[in-house]
Amino acid sequence: MIPERWINWAVLAALIAVPLWALLADAPFTITLTTRVVILAIAAVGLNIALGIGGLVSLGHAVFFGIGGYAMGILASHAQTYVPLELFGMSIEGTKSMPIIWLTATLLSALIAYLIGLLVLRTSGVYFIMITLAFGQMFYYFAISWAAYGGEDGLSIYVRNEFPGLNTLVPIQFYGLCLSILVCVLFLKARLVASPFGLVLNAARQSSVRVETVGLNPARIKLLAFVISGAITGLAGALFADLNRFVSPQMFSWQLSGELIVFIIIGGVGRLMGPVIGAAVFVLLEHWLGGLTEFWQICLGAILLGIVLFARGGVVGLLTGKEGAHV
């Protein structure tokens, strides 16, 4: 069977080769499609830290995706209209600078993840899934009724935000930015998994009482994992909003939370490249089959069923011949 390391490098090579081919073949839409894959993959890599290593099946990760999206939308819309944002008696200038937007999206998502985590981590199993879903819906309906930022219609940002030294309106340049972030996030995740923190988190999923017995508090470990996970998904949200130049309550929807889980299951739970492969399969199916029939999700359902029944390790599990993410 194929070693997982080879698969990782092959996926990375494809992420570089496909857009370059599209550039030469003058197929800008393919670049946009690949950008979409990369951004959704970042969001799912974030979720994979909580779900794949920590065993926290969050059906509310769209919260962070949406927070990132709205962080971008709000900052950029104020920059667009030159009206400063009034917040807690402070007057904050809007900005079109990607690094500042990314930082805001990441920190805000981390903060919200911390607050939500304090509550949801008191539960486990089905209750955990339900309460994370409930938080997702709360944010979703809040966004719908938030008329100041478009409410149900969402918020359009007319020009893509800026990154020093690049013209982000050129698809391949924006793609390069997103891919760089994905690579950083994947590197971070790989380090995290091997680190003492990752080892403890991984053990906490398997046996909470074992972790307590060595003098550690599994709830605190999981909380930090949830925060890191939310922060990464939030960063992806800011990028996603920038890709579409549009933010809407759909970013908070439970369907999106579900799709992130689907990416992970298709690719392989806990695997480094699982979310990337899963996002690619999903986006390609959506594009190709979605062009043929509006019932394309029936095919997706069949694929999911097949994976859950016959290939629990997802695509990576199939290729490596090892069902588990470990050893």
Binding site: L192, F197, S207
Partner: protein, 249 residues
């Protein structure tokens, strides 16, 4: 003799009408193995859960290293030096043996928040983990997944994880459970050597092991300690004969 390392004072716990432990007072002194025996349902599990902090007692207190730890959480007690093993192995079964002992080393050395360097490459952690594996004789299986270890090896691994904590006292819940005579003999030898390092409160069904190891034995029946004494005293006691040993002898 010095103050006991671990002591329970009049621990009581009821579940509705069932009085699982009643006024249980036992102590563990340095250098000894103190075995707790008793028939099924005698309250041994409830007693352990109170000592490790999983169940709060209705009344009474737990003292460890001269401090009242009754209100402490399980992780706090572990950090203070209470190393326990489980009756049914509680291991990270998808992980290798080495990763399981590394977990103990991470807990003991307070490295859980390190996120950058790979755990197996941190030499302080690795040394402690490998030493613990070597002491229980599992060095050759360091990279075997737990799920693929034999039952006996998993029992040894339980002890190895406790060793990484360098505890002040061991609390072992039926370490011999399910072991064949060979495995039981090997583990008996290991535990016998351990007592000089830290005393062991041993809950055990295997009478051969108990009689071979224990310096003192307490007999728990219906939630009460009915006798405490040396091996010879317990063997000679009529009450114990009737309550417990009679059934198995």
């Amino acid at each position: 003799m010095s103050d006991p390392i671990l002591q329970t004072r009049s621990l009581s716990k009821s579940f509705g009408a069932l009085r699982a432990t009643q006024e249980v007072s036992i102590d563990l002194k340095s250098g000894e193995i103190h075995a707790i025996i008793g028939p099924n349902g005698a309250g041994k599990s409830t007693l352990i859960q109170q000592i490790t902090g999983i169940l709060p007692p209705d009344s009474g207190s737990v003292h460890f290293m001269g401090r009242d730890v009754t209100t402490w959480s399980t992780p706090q007690r572990a950090e203070a030096g209470l190393g326990r093993t489980f009756q049914i192995s509680a291991l990270a079964t998808e992980d290798s043996a080495l990763e399981n002992v590394l977990l103990g080393a991470i807990g003991a050395m307070g490295r859980a928040w390190h996120m950058w360097r790979p755990a197996p490459k941190m030499s302080a952690l690795r040394d402690r983990a490998e030493e613990a594996l070597a002491r229980v004789g599992l060095s050759d299986h360091a990279h075997t997944r737990c799920a693929e270890l034999s039952h006996g090896m998993r029992r040894q691994l339980e002890v190895a994880i406790a060793l990484t904590l360098q505890p002040k006292a061991f609390l072992m819940d039926e370490p011999m459970a399910g072991l064949g005579s060979e495995g039981s003999k090997a583990l008996t030898e290991l535990l016998s050597r351990l007592r000089d390092e830290a005393p062991i409160l041993l809950i055990e069904h295997d009478m051969d092991a108990v009689f071979a190891l224990a310096d003192r034995i307490s007999v728990l029946v219906n939630g009460q300690i009915i006798a405490t004494g040396t091996v010879a005293e317990i063997r000679a006691s009529r009450d114990v004969q009737q309550a417990y040993l009679g059934e198995t002898a």
